[in-house]
Symmetry: C2
Subunit: 318 residues, 2 copies
Amino acid sequence: MQGIWLEKQQLQLKSDLPIPDSPAGEARIKVLRAGICNTDLELLRGYYPYTGILGHEFVGVVESGAPNLINKRVVGEINAACGKCHFCLTNQPTHCEQRTVLGIVNRNGAFADYLTLPVANLHAVPDQVTTDAATFTEPLAAALEIQEQVKILPEHNVLVVGDGKLGQLVAQTIALTGCDLLVIGRHHDKLEKLALRGIKVGFEDIVSPRSFDIAIECTGNPDGFNLALFGLRPRGTLVLKSTYAGKLTLDASAIVVDEITVVGSRCGPFAKALDLLSQNKVDVTSLIETCYPLEEGLAAFSHAQQRGTLKVLLKMDS
Amino acid sequence: MQGIWLEKQQLQLKSDLPIPDSPAGEARIKVLRAGICNTDLELLRGYYPYTGILGHEFVGVVESGAPNLINKRVVGEINAACGKCHFCLTNQPTHCEQRTVLGIVNRNGAFADYLTLPVANLHAVPDQVTTDAATFTEPLAAALEIQEQVKILPEHNVLVVGDGKLGQLVAQTIALTGCDLLVIGRHHDKLEKLALRGIKVGFEDIVSPRSFDIAIECTGNPDGFNLALFGLRPRGTLVLKSTYAGKLTLDASAIVVDEITVVGSRCGPFAKALDLLSQNKVDVTSLIETCYPLEEGLAAFSHAQQRGTLKVLLKMDS
């Protein structure tokens, strides 16, 4: 089968990869669509030394290994957990110490014709959700993780920093809380997408210092972090939603003096994400920049790496 | 009067300072004893551009301005708040935006014969608490602030990094929760003080990775921060208790991937600290390294700046 292989920070399109057998408890899935995420770009830059097929945002059809789901469209949680460790036994499988992670840690990913995942990780895609839209389940779940960790109330002032792929999803999900939301970005066209949904947007010069209860950093760069901290009130909460390639240098004294809480946030609830998609409460398909067939995967990556690009999809069912 | 004056990162012992008049709502206090804190040393290194008399840990006797406290021994909360802003009106006066801070921000401090503070900031020292012990009220309250912010239960594994002045107080207060506590330091004699109280102690080589629910950083240096993060389990809480001169460089991706919560922690509850002191539940006087008269204040600072020094006190009533 074909697949996009990462090794030593180099991408290759391989066409002689074996179709994977699904081990016990896992299903084999024919991939229909997959999305390129910033984490894929960070992996390419060496954020984590992964070797294998990239990709973790996908929709596919179950071929074998999950009798109840055969021929059904599914999305899949990306952390494959051991089921036995402290984290698994306390319902925190995304933090399993022995976990493999689809296209990120010791598990071939979704930029290929086939993948395997534990049956327990799979969620059927409701009929009313298109395959393109369902490709956003994983990042939408990650956006929803913020609300699993931090209670956001209508009386809160919330700042989202970043108008990219992740910022767009975070902003849309946070807006559903009814809070007073401001999204800061650097791209007029991207901010306009949010403004059309009634969300307040602007450039960084409109951020009042020390005025937000909660600030959510979705840029993955130090400027974004510093803007989020600048806008946050004392005793406010700063949510870090992006992985960073390299180290972040910050003013830790400001965190101490203002008694700031910083919360790291990663993978989230798939069921809730699928609910939002099936109820049409978020708009994800307008975030699709373009779609490439898998065999043009390297061109797709070049496109995704251009600054300011929204979601680039790979299509396997063409 | 005499006082230790900081200006442009230089200390001077001045002997011609005016005895302060207490403005309306403030009391004039004759200082009996004061403690040199790491924040004083950080100010000397330029952590914040303060000019004036240093010092914020003190015990004194009220001379005027507080009829109910005349001739009584008092300690004082260091943040003088405006009483009118959002933070004051929501019972967070330590975060008042217009606050002055004793010996730190726009308010002459305690390393002098006299100081003034708002009457509302003062707490009478119970008779059974010695003046030496009461000098630790402010840092002990700061240690107790951790428990105002983070719920620590007997089933928690807690790591305290640092065996210095702050680490000692934090360790003693955390031990009172009944949690499973380990204190890591670099000084056999200081760790021994805690071991004598039945607290588990050791050097950094005994820290198991990813195993503590809560880690409390009390060193103010990047090594301490990194050790605390190393010991913390996924979804754990890292409390930052020290101010840092300069920036801290960290692996923000680790905070995101492990969904760590970082909590900055500063000033705390004086009443609770005085309660602990009057009930003899913590031992502070064994942390006194030495005591100098105010006129030898510069020598006291030199002593306090030596690595590994515990609490250096200044005595004004000799």
